[in-house]
C-alpha cells in the first residue's frame, strides 16, 4: 500500500487548486493558481506543479477527483464530485468535529451540513447573483483602488459602517460609487462591504441551521475583517484552515482515496 497517491483538482471560477495525499491521507503538496480563461489548461498546470512539489510523477497517482465549476473539463480525472461534497469532506479532514461548513468561493457561497464522516447531509447556496462571494470583493477592491489584502483588515471604525445592500453586486458597486462621491471614509465603506457579505451568509446559515463546529473555507476566509464580523454575528469561533482555498481539492483527494478503498473492499468485480 506504500505507493498509492490520490489527488483532488478543484477548477473554480477564480482559482484552480490541487492537493495530493498519500494512502494514509497525509498531505504531500498543494498548489493554487488563477484559473484564467482556460480551465482545462489551468488544471494541467496546477496538477503538474503539485506533482513536482510532491516529488512524484503523473503515473503514480492512483485516482483523481475533479471538482469545482470546471470539473467536467479535467480530462485526466478518474471521478467527478461537486465542490459542495468536497468542501464537506475536506473540512472534516482538517477539523473532525465540523458539523457545518461555510464556503465562500469565487462566485458561490454555500452553507453545508455534514455528518461525523464528513458526508453532506444538506446544503444551501446563494442564488444567481454573485453578492456575498469572492467575485463581489474583487469588484469592490477594484472600485476602491485597494488590493484584496487591504480589503481584508479587521477595522475598528468609529460610528456606523456605510450601509451597502447585500442583494446585488452591480447595485452594491453603484452604492460604493455614491459613497465615494460623498467622501465617505474608505474604511467605513470596506467595513460596510464586509458586513454586507456577512449579512448575506447569515441568511443562508439561518435557513439551514448550525450543527457542531463551524469551519470556514474558500478564498474569502483570508479576509480577516470579514471573519471577525462573521464570528461576531454567529456568536462563535470559526475554524479557519491554514489554506482555506484548497479545502475543496483536499476533500476531492480524500474522496478519491475513499472510493479506491471501497472498491478494494468490494473486490475486483
Amino acid at each position: 500500500m506504500a505507493d498509492l497517491y490520490f489527488a483532488g483538482v478543484d477548477v473554480g471560477s477564480l482559482s484552480t487548486d490541487v492537493s495530493i495525499i498519500d494512502h494514509s491521507g497525509k498531505l504531500l503538496s498543494e498548489t493554487v493558481i488563477p484559473t484564467g480563461v482556460n480551465g482545462s489548461e489551468a488544471a494541467e498546470v496546477a496538477f503538474d506543479s503539485a506533482i513536482k512539489l510532491a516529488d512524484l510523477s503523473r503515473e503514480v497517482i492512483t485516482a483523481i477527483t475533479a471538482t469545482g465549476y470546471g470539473r467536467a473539463s479535467v480530462a485526466f480525472a478518474t471521478g467527478k464530485t461537486t465542490e459542495i461534497s468536497c468542501h464537506g469532506v475536506g473540512a472534516h479532514q482538517l477539523f473532525p468535529k465540523t458539523g457545518t461548513v461555510i464556503d465562500i468561493g469565487g462566485q458561490d457561497s454555500k452553507v453545508i451540513q455534514i455528518d461525523s464522516h464528513g458526508r453532506m447531509l444538506d446544503f444551501t447556496m446563494n442564488d444567481k447573483c454573485a453578492a456575498g462571494t469572492g467575485r463581489f470583493l474583487e469588484v469592490m477592491a477594484n472600485r476602491l483602488e485597494l488590493d484584496l489584502d487591504e480589503l481584508s483588515s479587521p477595522l475598528n471604525i468609529e460610528g456606523e459602517s456605510a450601509p451597502i445592500s447585500s442583494t446585488c453586486t452591480v447595485f452594491a458597486e453603484s452604492e460604493v460609487i455614491s459613497l465615494l462621491a460623498k467622501h465617505t471614509p474608505r474604511e467605513h465603506i470596506v467595513h460596510g462591504l464586509q458586513r454586507s457579505i456577512v449579512n448575506r451568509i447569515w441568511s443562508m446559515v439561518a435557513s439551514i441551521g448550525i450543527e457542531g463546529e463551524v469551519t470556514l473555507t474558500g478564498g474569502v476566509a483570508h479576509n480577516r475583517g470579514l471573519v471577525v464580523l462573521l464570528e461576531e454575528k454567529l456568536g462563535l469561533t470559526l475554524n479557519i484552515p491554514e489554506n482555506p482555498q484548497t479545502v475543496g481539492a483536499l476533500g476531492g483527494a480524500h474522496i478519491a482515496r475513499r472510493a479506491y478503498q471501497s472498491s478494494l473492499e468490494l473486490g475486483p468485480n
Partner: protein
Amino acid sequence: MSIRAEIKYKIMKDYGAPALMALQDFKRRKPRPIPEAFGPPLDSNKRLKEILSRHYFLSRYARGVNKVAWVTSGAPVELLRAFDFYTIYPENHSALVGAKKQGADYCSIAEGSGFSQDLCSYARIDLGHMLSGKTPAGKLPKPDLLFCSNNICQTVLYWYKAIAHELNIPLIHFDAPFVTTEQTEADINYMAQQLQDMIPILERVSGRVFYLDVFENILKRSMETSRTWGAILDAMKAQPAPMTIFDAFGHLAPIVSLRGLPVAQDYYHILMEEVDTRVTQGIGAISDERYRLIWDNIAIWYKVRFLATFFAERKMNFVTATYTNAWAETTGYLNVKDPWNSMAKTYGQIILNNNLKHRLELMKKMIKTYSVDGMVMHSTRSCKPYSVGQFDLRKAITTDLDLPAVILDADIADERVWSEQQIHTRLEAFCETLEGSKHG
C-alpha cells in the same frame, strides 16, 4: 353570430383542422430518438398534441361564432362553458411560449412598454403577445371578456385590468378569500353569491340564456374529468411509475384549459387506460427507477427536457408534484345538487389560496403515499404565492421526514433567470446527498 363566420368555422373544423393534423403527422414521421434512460414514450402524446393544436388552430376562427374569453387557470370556468365561450388560457399560452424558449423575447416587449421585470413572466409574455400580436400558435383571437380569480395570485387581477383597459372590454373577477385557517360559511356564501351575480353579465356579453340543466351537465363532466386526472396521478404511486411528472406537466393542459368540455373528458379516459396498462405490465417512464422524487411549484418550461434527462440518467424519477395535483385536489367538493356552494369550496380551497400548514400536511402526505426519497423545490421569480414559504416548508419536511431537498432559483417562462452552471452544481450535490442517504 354571423352566418359567414359560422360556415368558415365549420369548414375549418371539418377540413382545416384534420388537414393540419395530417401535416403535423407528416412532419413528425421521423420521431426523435429516445435516450436510453427513458422507457417507451406514451402513445397518448400524439392525441394530446392533436387536441391542443386543434384548439389553438380553431380559436382563430372562433370570433363571430362564439364569444371569446381569456381565463385564468384557477377560475371557475364551468360557468362560462354554460354560455359557450371559446376560452383561451393566457397562462397555458405563456407556458407554450416558455417551452419554445421564446419567453425572454415576449417579456422584453412588455418591459419595453413599461411593465416591470419583477412582474410574473406569464403576465409579461401575455402582455407582450397582446402588444405585438406575436404567438407561436399562429394567431390568437382577441377576447370579448376577461375572467380571472385571485385564488392563484393577486397579480392576475392587475394583469387582466391592464388588458381590459387596453382593449376596452369587460373583466369579471371572482374574489376568493384566502383560507388562513379554515374556509368559513361567510366565505362560501360570499363566493356562491358572486357566481350567481355573474349570470346576467355573462348572458349580456354572450347573448345566450343561462339554463341550469346545461350548467349542471358541464359541472358533472368537469367533476368526472378532474377525478380521472386524479386517478391518473394516483397511478404514479406504482413502482416503477408509469409516467414522469415531466410527462404530467404536458398532459395537464386539457384539465387546465379544456376543463368542462367533452374533449378533455374523453382524453383522460384514453390516458388513464394507457397508464393502467403500463402499471399492469410493469412499464416505467424511465428505464431503471431507483429514486422517487417530488416536485414543488410550477414547471420550468424551457428546461423540462433538460431536467427530465438529467434525472432519468441518474435513475431518478419525479412521481408527484404539488403543481399537477392542484387540478385534482379539491374537485371532490363539487356537487351537482349544490352547484354554487360546492364551486365555492372547490375553487376557494385550491393550494395557492390555502395556508402553509395545509400545504405542509399535503406535501407530507404525498411524500408518504408516493414513496418519495427526495424533494426538488423550484423557487420561481414569477410566482410569489407559490414560492414564499418554501424555505420554511423545506426546513419542516427535511427535519420531520429526514428527506433530502434542494431549492432551485429559476423562473417558469423567462429563460434569462436560468443559470445553467449553478443549477447543475446544485442538482448534482442534491443527487450526491440523495445517494448518500439511501445507501448510508
